[in-house]
Structures are given as structure tokens and as C-alpha cells.
Symmetry: C2
Subunit: 140 residues, 2 copies
DNA sequence: TAATAAGTGCAACATTGTTGCATTTATATC
DNA sequence: GATATAAATGCAACAATGTTGCACTTATTA
């Protein structure tokens, strides 16, 4: 199952002019398999034993993947970044759902986010961060 | 100017059955004077020299004020909590604006947040966190 | 004024993320 | 295929934010 994503991951990385290292491919493939956004620590745990990376390398690789638009990272109230692969590169503007029971985070692509927010005069809109909190199906 | 808020702060604290200590009153009064949400560190800097509190006490006092609904705290992408006094106790559900230039955070009470978000089946809505990012009047 | 629970200060710790620098490696070129 | 080189990695140390345990102090009650 994971193998399928290794090839995809390598392609995505090469398309962005980056070196296709084992670390990058493994990390991106791991994120591609996930149906949810996961933390640095969770990524570490899911990497195969043949691919044990240094914490710092993982942080730097994630940063590179974000900068190149292959993944995106999500703020949360527990002060931990969560990462999710960008299946469709163009749609970064979407909302997220966080379960207050198990801390699971998923992307809510279905939520359209209009950009007409009434700000104080003199303020300029850039982007919006929207997190819906509640209980997931398992925690209900 | 600050004195006016000390009396208000003390009243608010006593109404909630808490001890009216110098620390609590000073911290709440400081937050009441602010037109924006400020961080733990900024609160520390704004406290009068006659009231120098331990970091831990400040954290615990803020926690108490949040639990008692006198202030609320706001997540941000820089992993730092920001605190704001609750002028109208009932209206916790509002959006925030964060300036990407100076990191200033203000409350956008004018934004109505409807609660009809289409979640996956089996999911239950609890609350919503909404942060609009952009440039404030000073940074434009 | 004294008793007591509530609040505070200090030290140590935990978690998450970052920086500097030497070493290793993927890729381009020969 | 061998080699040069920039890019990526690993290690150690550090930084920022927040938490825990426990002894001490203080606001409140009686």
C-alpha cells in the first residue's frame, strides 16, 4: 500500500527540482497515505524502521515540503504543527476539523471560504484560518 | 487611567467567588485596558513595577481567569497564547484578526459566526475558531 | 486575632522547535 | 563508471513556552 505512494512522492519531489532523497520520499509518502493531518511525532512513528531520521532532518524536510507546496501545515490549540499532503496543489484555502476528544485533525475541503470579511478600515485581508472543533465519529 | 479598571477588575473577581489578590486584580486590570489580545510576556511587561509576579503565578492566574470566564485565550500560529478580557461575558464565539506584520491580535466581534458547518456524518459540532490574517492599519 | 484554605514563589522539568557546523550523499559532468 | 559539488543530513547545543511538586505566604472567615 505504501509502495504505491513512494513512486508518487518521488515524482512530486523531482517535479519541484529537489533531490529525491530517501528521507523526503519516505516522509511525503507517509503523509500521502494519511487521511488526516499528523504531527511531527506521529510522522516519526510511522516511518519504516529502515528509515530512521534525525528530529532536525525531519523538521527541515517538512519545512522544504511546505515551501514547495507539496504539503501544508496546520496550527492547533495544543501548540503542535500538523502536516497534511496537498492532493490538489491549488486548494490551500480550506478549513480544518479538530476532534476535542482524540485530537484528530482532518481537512474540510467542502467548506467554501468566502473572502469578504468586514475588517476595520485601513486593514488589508490576506488569508483566513478556520478550525471547526467538535467530536469525530469515534468519539461521539 | 489604569485605576478605573482596578475597581472593575476587583468587582469581577469577587463576583466569581475568587480571592481578590493584588496579582489577579493587576493582571485583569491590565487586560481590561488593552484594545488587543496580548501574550504572557507582554502582560508581564505591562504590570506595574510594584507588582512583579513569578512566571508560574502569572500562568496560573491567567488559567483561573479563563476558567471563570473573565478573559479568553486565543491560539495563534506562533505557538503563543494571547489573552483578552471578556467585556461582555456571553460573547465568546467571535473571530480574531492577526496582523502578519506586527503580530497584533484583535477581536472581531462584528463577525457573525453561523453554526451550520457541514461536517462528515457522525461528527458533532462544538465550536469554531476563526482567524483572519492580513495587515493592520499601521503595517499597510 | 487566629485558623485555614487559597494563592504564590522557587526549582526543576517537559515539549516543541531552531541554529551552527562538520560529515555524508544525490546529482551533474566528465 | 569516477569525480566534483552543492544539497541534505546528523549531532550537539540552545531557545521559547509552558507545567509540576512542594514549601511558604496571605486573604478571608469566624
Amino acid at each position: 500500500m505504501l509502495n504505491k505512494f513512494y513512486h508518487t512522492a518521488e515524482d512530486m519531489i523531482r517535479h519541484h527540482g529537489g533531490r529525491a532523497t530517501a528521507g523526503r520520499i519516505g516522509i511525503l509518502a507517509t503523509l500521502l497515505t494519511e487521511q488526516q493531518a499528523i504531527t511531527h511525532r506521529e510522522i516519526e512513528q510511522r516511518l519504516p524502521q529502515s528509515l530512521q531520521l534525525d528530529r532536525v532532518t525531519l523538521y527541515r524536510t517538512l519545512e522544504w515540503l511546505v515551501e514547495n507546496g507539496l504539503i501544508h501545515k496546520i496550527t492547533s490549540d495544543d501548540r503542535v504543527w500538523r502536516y497534511n499532503a496537498n492532493l490538489e496543489p491549488q486548494s490551500h484555502q480550506h478549513a480544518h476539523f479538530k476532534c476535542t476528544g482524540c485530537a484528530q485533525v482532518i481537512c474540510l475541503d467542502s467548506l467554501p471560504i468566502e473572502q469578504n470579511w468586514p475588517l476595520p478600515t485601513g486593514y488589508r485581508f490576506q488569508e483566513i484560518e478556520l478550525t471547526v472543533k467538535g467530536l469525530c465519529a469515534n468519539c461521539c
